[in-house]
Symmetry: C2
Subunit: 233 residues, 2 copies
């Protein structure tokens, strides 16, 4: 089992970084191979642009998805993107570990998706959802936030947390074919005791040891839609 | 009426950029003052980090929201952030104009939110939603995407588009107090005729001329929740 942890936090001593370290150690104890993309440490560039394509003439009209397909074929993707793609290819499981920023991923992680999930490999034509390029791989979010758990859910002040995650879990991960496992969520982190934080790390270890028994989230199956993507019934 | 258009597209000749230009011209015809933050042209840095705070000692533990509040008080926010904050302060209406990337905003725009929506001004303590720092201002998304409109909505292949927008519309804009107007959405843009694209620009102009008659989206009101943010009934 190969695991890729994509980690995005600007402070190495943060609790979110401790979650990354716990995940890394837990997987190693299980005998898994673990790679980590520490996006802040790598100073990963999150901005999709024409510079991502070695062969692209700056005077040409930029169609980003089209150039992704061209550069993938001709092996001219920017090296920082190509390296991350190889890591994803090797992985059976990708963990996204981050602090929730504005109910979503930090920009540096959003840009990792924008640039690494290239057209022609991750998706393309009718290859998406259960026919996406990443079918057979699993993905999971692992994140911290300031809010308390009772602030999320039906009739709560912020509503269900799943709504905020849908652009990542459904619109990105499930779309390219990942089987999306239930998230590990660390609530209220800046305000709790160190003992409570330690307990979260213990729970995280248990969550990760138990991944095989978690039911993946359910999303659309292409078989239920016709050629024009209208529902069949 | 002062309008700020925050625009994020890597290609100046793109249809999304034409939407920005149409918005700019429409507002000018209406006699509004218009400022544009063209994030790609500005090479805006989307990565939240310790570098955002002039007085911050690199050996200190980074609590990003806390340092936002400190730097706001002491006027030591990074100049690129301070400039954007002043633009938002001047604006009665903020338009976010972008191509939908992975059912959300491009990373460069996510990072604009991560860095500009500073704690202590945009929100803080019990100042959020209808008590947020931006109460009295309006915001609206204006975006293009590749999918067709029938691919979104209940029982469709991708589900309601609102779910994907909630981290921006609810978790970011409404949270800091903006009145969020219904989005202008340009579907299927890469695949339609130039005539259809021109029609979209005409529709956009009408949408923008009609903003006063649009009903804002509904989100939580703090008055319906108790001190611990549990629902009162």
């Amino acid at each position: 089992m190969n695991v890729l942890i994509v980690h995005a936090h600007p402070e190495k001593r943060s609790f979110t970084t401790a979650m990354k370290n716990t995940a890394q150690q837990t997987f190693k104890k299980l005998g898994y191979e673990v790679e980590v993309s520490d996006l802040y440490e790598m100073k990963f560039n999150p901005v999709a642009s024409a510079d991502d394509f070695g062969d692209f003439e700056q005077t040409e009209y930029l169609n980003y998805a089209l150039e992704q397909r061209n550069a993938l074929k001709s092996n001219t993707l920017s090296p920082d993107i190509a390296i991350e793609i190889e890591k994803v290819k090797r992985a059976d499981l990708v963990i996204f570990n981050f602090p929730l920023y504005w109910t979503s991923v930090p920009a540096i992680l959003k840009g990792w998706i924008d640039r690494v999930f290239v057209s022609g490999l991750f998706y393309g034509g009718k290859r998406f959802y259960n026919h996406g390029g990443m079918v057979g791989k699993k993905a999971m979010l692992c994140f911290s936030l300031g809010g308390r758990d009772h602030m999320f859910g039906d009739n709560s002040i912020h509503g269900p947390i799943e709504q905020y995650l849908s652009s990542i879990q459904r619109g990105s991960l499930a779309y390219v074919g990942f089987e999306v496992l239930p998230s590990f969520i660390a609530y209220h982190v800046p305000y709790i005791t160190n003992e409570d934080r330690q307990n979260i790390l213990v729970n995280l270890e248990q969550h990760l040891q138990n991944l095989d028994h978690l039911n993946p989230l359910e999303f659309s199956h292409l078989e239920n839609f016709d050629e024009k993507m209208n529902p069949k019934n």
